[in-house]
Amino acid sequence: MLRDLLSRKRARIVEKWFDVILETYPEDTSKFLKKGKDPFANPVRHTILQGVEGVYDALLKEGQSPEALNDFLDKVIRIRAVQDFSPSQALAFVFSLKGVIREVLGKEIRENHLHDQLLLLETRIDALALRAFDVYMGCREEIYELRVSEVKRMREQALRLLERTDRVFQKRKEDEDAPSRDS
């Protein structure tokens, strides 16, 4: 069964997949991303690793909830969506899982005639890619939202400043007017 193979070779496959992702960074950076294990000193490594492990496990599990899958994809994509990548560069990692699986399991797949199952798995990876695209767009939209809301916040603050001074002005006028009305 392909599924058993995938579970047995999980560590190898995830490691290779992670390496392929690290290689999309300039050399000095991928060196850094490989070595530092502290999750707070090297958060990109830590978060992406969490993400790919989660995605891989979710992919193997039958009946995995779409939200959980999205959360793991989000870990990887939220970072790559703001880094210096084109959309295709940011998302190529999803497809590269296919290459990694063939490389690691190619022999066993051939020997055990598991091509049909591989095709099925690759179809799932394609679906994963579509999902990744949605997550990516979601992140990019958030960035634009953040921009817009920052500008709006500034404008609102300026308007509120005017309102405030106006309110104080009106109140002062009322106070001044009040005694003359009495007399």
Partner: protein, 541 residues
């Protein structure tokens, strides 16, 4: 059909842009991709400040309209600064490229761009220095790590030196004490000689010069704003707090960043100050002429910083106060602690600050005569001089972001924590290597906090966001407190993107919530005007 029968393998289809460009760091070419740089400053502000080369231009233009003799100007500027600032010369010479700083910059960590390693950032300038100012570089050029100064190098400087928040995290790790922030400051000065600057670093400085604050708010508007907050406080507490403005002979002049009376959530913190001062009966005064704690001169040039800083002291002298109390501001403290004394000091006409309430002498402020509000308030609390009800903050689960300047430039680490722990029952620290001296920057300081730069801010903000997310997941943290007006603006989108649901707050906002005032009515509302202790979540800050 098995995939081997296909001519093309799927991974081949993806080969086209799979590898990162193999770029040599010496190659200066930069692609100005929207979202990753700040726009230029409008010529009118340059004219007002009498700065070089005012003109319309943008970084994404091909032609930057540099002055004809731009090369001479830069070399002359470098020569001048090398002789004037010993530290600059030292920093150019002594880096041994040990790499200790390389992975400490939030922009490198978050972006993965090697030129954001502090050592390489500095190298962008150093390579030109080596080429033209050292004997070995003049002979060996590129072999000695020298680079010729070209227009592309200037563009690269602009890109990367306006991609450094001057936060000084890297300097904490350098065994030689090299401060890359100082190198950035020099580079920005050189860029300014060519008229290359960014809006948010310069426009506030121009406004400040003209009206006394970054936003160009005039004295009557300043006064009206404060009166408005006086009313707000009365609505919330039933107490009408006193509001001394330009009061001659007051004990203390209070100066805070304009963000505090302009923008939420700073306004809530400002009300906190007003309530506290009223409650302890502090003899103090506000001033429309010193209505700005921030000093964006720091992000442009030494001269501008000096002028802006001098205004505060001139006002203190005019009003005849004894000393100055400063609000929750970040870089104001860097200016005061690192530069004020040599620039405009000593402020002999003021007295050594002593708290009129507790009698504590503020030794740190002995020569600058300016005390940080967190230190002042922590001292009040240590002496039990204020009555507090921390349970009013019980719906808040708070963590503290050390702002770069108060923590690294003045060592203000324990005081804000003491205040927070006194006014709220649920306080949680982020991981050790992301706070105190090692704090990660908000990635929007030093003029970089504009909306057009949002993508870059999110890259640089990731290390902070990641630590914040951690305490959010582990302790349900829902408030991020800080003592800096820039942070109070820039951390909002940072939290929205990396740890959605966490709300940004000033420390004295929480003081305002917890402060029990004489003669107050039963408190039902917090400083935001929301019902006290309502669970967060429906809040739209």
């Amino acid at each position: 059909m098995s995939s081997e029968e296909l001519d093309i393998k799927p991974e081949d289809l993806l080969k086209f842009d799979y590898d990162p460009p193999k770029q040599d760091w010496m190659d200066p070419s930069v692609a100005f991709r929207k979202g990753t740089y700040c726009y230029s400053c409008a010529p009118k502000h340059l004219e007002y400040l009498e700065m070089a080369n005012p003109r319309e231009w943008q970084p994404h233009d091909k032609d930057w309209k540099l002055p004809e003799n731009w090369k001479e100007i830069v070399f002359e500027g470098m020569r001048d600064r090398l002789s004037k600032y010993r530290s600059f010369q030292l920093f150019m010479d002594i880096c041994v490229r040990c790499g200790a700083c390389a992975d400490k910059c939030h922009f490198f960590i978050g972006s993965g761009d090697p030129k954001n390693m502090p050592v390489l950032r500095a190298e962008l300038l150093r390579s030109v220095y080596r080429n033209d100012f050292t004997a070995v570089g003049k002979i060996l050029g590129k072999l000695a790590g020298g680079r010729e100064l070209t227009e592309d190098v200037i563009k690269e400087w602009f890109y990367y030196f306006y991609q450094c928040t001057e936060c000084r995290r890297c300097s904490v790790f350098c065994p030689y004490g090299i401060d890359t922030a100082e190198i950035t400051m020099m580079a920005r000065e050189l860029l300014n000689l060519l008229g290359l600057n960014i809006t948010w670093a310069l426009e506030p400085a121009a406004n400040c010069q003209r009206t006394g604050n970054h936003l160009g708010i005039q004295p009557h508007t300043f006064k009206d704003s404060l009166e408005f907050f006086q009313d707000e406080i009365e609505d919330i507490t039933g107490v009408k707090v006193n509001l001394p403005i330009s009061k001659k002979g007051a004990d203390v002049l209070f100066v805070t960043p304009s963000g505090d009376y302009f923008a939420d959530p700073g306004t809530f913190t400002l009300m906190g100050y007003m309530m506290l001062f009223h409650e302890i009966g502090l003899d103090y005064t506000w001033s429309p002429y010193a209505s700005e704690g921030g000093n964006f001169g720091l992000f442009n040039s030494h001269e501008l910083m000096k002028q802006l800083n001098a205004k505060i002291y001139a006002e203190a002298k005019r009003l005849g106060v004894k000393w100055i109390l400063g609000g929750e501001c970040g870089h104001m403290w860097r200016v005061v602690n690192q530069y004020m004394d040599t620039m405009n000091g000593p402020a002999d006409f003021l007295e050594e600050p002593v708290s009129p309430i507790t009698g504590t002498k503020f030794e740190n402020a002995k020569s600058t005569k300016m005390v940080h509000i967190a230190e002042f308030t922590a001292d009040l609390m240590k002496h039990n001089k204020v009555k507090l009800d921390p349970s009013r903050n019980d719906s808040l689960r708070v963590t503290f972001h050390d702002s770069c300047n108060p923590s690294r430039a003045m060592g203000l680490l324990e005081e804000p924590r003491h205040v927070l722990k006194s006014v709220c029952n649920h306080f949680y620290e982020m991981p050790e290597n992301t706070i105190r001296e090692q704090t990660y920057c908000c990635a929007g300081g030093a003029g970089l906090g504009t909306d057009e730069n949002m993508e870059m801010r999110m890259r640089g903000g990731f290390p902070r966001g990641n630590a914040l997310r951690h305490v959010q997941e582990k302790h349900d943290v829902n408030r991020l407190a800080c003592v800096c007006a820039i942070d109070r603006a820039t951390l909002i989108p940072l939290a929205d993107y990396w740890a959605p649901g966490v709300v940004v707050t000033g420390v004295h906002e929480l003081v305002g919530n917890a402060l029990v005032m004489k003669g107050e009515k039963e408190r039902e509302l917090d400083m935001r005007g929301d019902p006290l202790n309502e669970m967060e979540g429906d809040e739209d800050v």
